[in-house]
């Protein structure tokens, strides 16, 4: 062991002699020149465009105030001055500084205020000479020229939080990262790669020269399937309505428009939303942050009758010719399940059952099929699971089953619940996008496609409707009859020369009390009015679209949603209609 100690002593004495005496002068010279710092250079984020190339998300230069700790003799004093110049809360500044300091490497500027107004910029510029630790950093900032019009689709970027930085080593303090919408799902594609710049400084930290070592790589652009013009048109048509409208290209699954009202200005989030602004938005009873097309699930109402009819045909419970007598309701035990038409529809076949949306007919179908056969049909038709659209937080909706009820309520499934399910009430919940996709599949040959938001995405077939070709054609024809027939619930959207089909629906909000039963819509308090559904397709010259509108508290299906859907087709087929 003595030898080990001797060896240690000798080796290191020799090494020290070599470094400090033999090459000492050389290293001393190097030390003198050792004044190089490395700075990150931000890469601009990829742009987002609509299908025709119109810009939807761009980068603007923004000015941030940063501090370089190593250049400061007295940080609290510097922060105090910043707070005085800009009239900011000092403790807030200290908090920002303390929170970020651990994440900043030596000599890296740490951002204190992410975006400065021009007035603030001027004040700071006037003072920086005597405060070398304060630096103005330019970095690209995201801006959304369309603001609320596409906020739900595009989402927004904001400063990366603690979790995001821990999970992604490429992110550093003050970096923007996609939080919602396409900005979130396409983050990897949109984000570029940061560059590295070598900066030579003197002993006081002042910059003498700079040299780009690794140039930053710009993020890739993204072109959306959205047609900005159409989106804007629908947005106007929605007026003050609360709800959503979706336009799909049936054969590709491309989303041409996705409108959710009310909306919010996504630009507000980019430079950091103040706590009070955030609270206002969060507590707004109209929930502007909610993307109603994919995050809100409603009872489908009569729209679901299409699925039940298809299921009855596939399961051979009924043929198109089978008739049911509607006396105005369906008696089950001692309870009468009423048809919306109190006077009764008389003898109804499946076509009339759909065209006039006869509840009694579907009570009969539901009773014959039962939940055990309706459940798989609905799931195979794309309900009860997310569509897979490239947006975060999509709701899966809900298709109830015997097992689900047992688990959820610890209760058996009752026969009456089959009837409610068959007319799309009860536990059933669907998102507008699920309905639009189902509708598209009815007319595109039964292919359930993933709704695509990217213009260059190939059609992605996820499943097929559980329907034979002839049964599907039959359902499509009933939708056409719903528009063209004199008693069809969708007759108000008819357009000459365009093949249109539709199905209306009403999603009950509360079981209307008897006192409202016979009143006109305007006399019912807003929050008690039913939600109005309308799903439709339109076809001309080989172009086919599926359009769905869901108007919250819009009352009966056709009345509120009809005019909007009609306007959309007039717009889509403007050339053909001239």
């Amino acid at each position: 062991m003595q030898l080990l100690v001797l060896g240690l002593f000798l080796i290191f004495v020799l090494r020290l002699w070599y470094l400090q005496i033999h090459k000492g002068q050389e290293f001393a010279d190097k030390a003198e020149n050792n004044r190089i710092r490395l700075h990150q250079v931000h890469a601009p984020r990829g742009l987002i465009r609509d299908r025709h190339g119109v810009l939807l998300a761009v980068n603007e230069p923004a000015y941030a105030l940063a501090i370089v700790r190593e250049d400061s003799k007295d940080i609290p004093n510097a922060l105090l001055h910043v707070s005085q110049w800009l009239n900011l809360d000092l403790s807030q500044l200290h908090e920002t500084f303390d929170k970020g300091r651990a994440r900043i490497k030596r000599f890296e500027p740490q951002i204190l205020i992410p975006s400065l107004t021009f007035a603030q910029l001027a004040v700071i510029e006037a003072n920086t000479l005597s405060w070398p630790e304060l630096k103005i950093v330019t970095k690209p900032r995201r801006s959304y020229p369309q603001g609320p019009l596409l906020a739900h689709v595009i989402g927004y970027v904001a400063e990366a939080n603690e979790d995001e930085m821990n999970n992604d080593p490429e992110l550093s303090l003050g970096d923007s990262v996609g939080k919602k919408g396409i900005e979130y799902t396409m983050e990897k594609r949109l984000r570029g790669k940061k560059g590295l710049r070598q900066v030579d400084v003197d002993a006081a930290g002042r910059q003498l020269g700079a040299n780009m070592l690794i140039p930053p790589q710009v993020g890739s652009d993204v072109r959306l399937s959205i047609d900005l013009e159409l989106q804007g048109f629908i947005d106007e048509q929605m007026k003050e309505h609360v709800g959503s409208v979706i336009v799909l290209e049936t054969d590709t699954g491309q989303v041409l428009a996705l409108v959710s009202k009310p909306s919010f200005d996504n630009n507000l989030f980019v430079s950091g939303l103040s706590h009070s602004d955030w609270a206002i938005m969060r507590d707004d009873p109209a929930h502007p942050l909610q993307n109603r097309a994919i995050q809100s699930a409603y009872p489908p109402g009569s729209v679901f009758k299409l699925v039940v009819a298809g299921c009855a045909l596939t399961e051979r419970v009924a043929t198109p010719g089978d008739r049911v007598f509607c006396p105005g309701g369906f008696q089950l035990g001692n309870r009468l399940f009423r048809c919306w038409e109190r006077r009764g529809h008389g003898v109804v076949d499946m076509n009339r059952g759909l065209v006039e949306s006869c509840d009694t007919f579907f009570y009969t179908m539901g009773d014959k099929l039962g939940v055990d056969r309706m459940y798989p049909c609905a799931v195979q038709s794309g309900f009860g699971r997310p569509t897979g659209i490239d947006l975060p937080h999509e709701s899966p909706g809900l298709v109830p089953s015997r097992e689900w009820k047992k688990q959820r309520f610890n209760d058996n499934w009752y026969r009456g619940e089959n009837l409610n399910m068959a007319i799309g009430q009860g536990f059933m919940l669907t998102t507008p996008l699920q309905v639009a996709r189902y509708n598209a599949a009815l007319v595109n040959g039964g292919r359930l496609l993933k709704p695509q938001l990217l213009a260059d995405a190939e059609p992605d077939e996820q499943a097929r409707l559980p329907l034979s070709d002839s049964h599907r054609d039959f359902l499509v024809q009933t939708m056409v009859d719903t528009v063209e027939g004199s008693r069809g619930t969708g007759r108000r959207i008819a357009l000459k020369g365009i093949r249109l089909g539709a199905k209306t629906g009403t999603a009950q909000v509360v079981k209307l009390m008897a006192e409202y039963d016979k009143k006109a819509l305007k006399d019912i308090p807003y929050q008690f009015r039913d939600h109005a559904w309308m799903t439709s397709f339109g076809e001309k010259n080989g172009r086919r679209y599926s359009v769905v509108a869901m108007i919250e508290h819009g009352g009966g299906g056709g009345a509120a949603a009809g005019p909007i859907i009609k306007a959309v087709y007039e717009h889509l087929f403007a050339e053909e209609l001239q």
């Binding site: 062991m1 002699w17 190097k30 050792n34 400061s72």
Partner: protein
Amino acid sequence: MTPIDRRLVTHFNWSLAGLAFVLFAFGVANLYSASGFRMEEGLTLTSYYRKQLYWGSIGLGGMIASLLFDYRHLRTLAWPFFVATLSALLITLFWGKTIMGAKRWMDLGLFHFQASEFAKISLLILMAKLLSMEHEKLGWKKLFSFGGIGIFPVVLIMKQPDLGSALSLLLLMGGMIIFRGVKGPVLKGLTVAVPALLPLGWFLLHDYQRQRIMGFLNPGGDPFGAGYHIIQSQIAVGSGQLWGRGFLEGTQSQLRFLPEKHTDFALAVFGEEWGFVGCVLLLFLFSAFLLSIVRTTAEAKDGFGSFLAAGIFFYFFWQIFINMGMVLGLMPVVGIPLPFISYGGTSTVVNFCLTGLALNVSMRRFFFKKS
């Protein structure tokens, strides 16, 4: 508690204790220089040198505690200690605090506790107990059973990941086993097997660890990445020349080009400010310190004490060897601190406790009572 015996005082190894304190004083002075100008620390942290003083006083308490009892009691405590450390390591792995991507610390509210430091002590005690029970040189079977015990803490620490501590544990164990002696064929086998297994270890390393080794082999290849520490610390040490730049005068450390200057690279600050003369003096102090422990291994009254002292020797020896080798560019960058010189709470306390344990063995060398 042993009744006070006059011989305990007369046989107290004052030079060993004195050397530890002189080294610690050097360390604190050096930290004062390394952290004196860190104005930004004034916001929330007290300066490192003050914290180090505070840790030193806790260490002094630990040192006194480690020499008050008869070290032979540790024999019965060896296994419980070991099991307790393993559990602490497991807890760290699952619920530990993540700092700079590694889970090494347990948050105990007042301070962060680094279980891997205590793993070194408990493994040392356990090995001393096991080796002192062997009456002949070790064969393959014993070697593997001892190695098998030691591999648990090593693997747990590797997982954190803390390559430096895992390596120290392995070297500590290896040193103690070689000190006990192995049978001829085993020795021959090992001299062939260990170099052959080294390349295998490459595949167990993390990317950043591989980069450090590549950086060591070719520091110029990536001067701002993997090779940065190596180049910068050599520049700092080298520019100290014969007499050094003087206390608080180091430009490299004051301008903060030097990374980790208060922890693993503290020697670089020292080298820059005190030059060749100061460094050789420091080396001399370390050598005297180590030799004093070596003497304890020879004088100890029983095998257990002798192996304890040997373990303590290797504990310090490897740290000094690896840390100096790294700072002076003779070895890849491994996160191992320099005893008494580098800043570090847990390690300072452990260093003092182990010094205390060596003193304990040394001052009880004239007890002839067999246990």
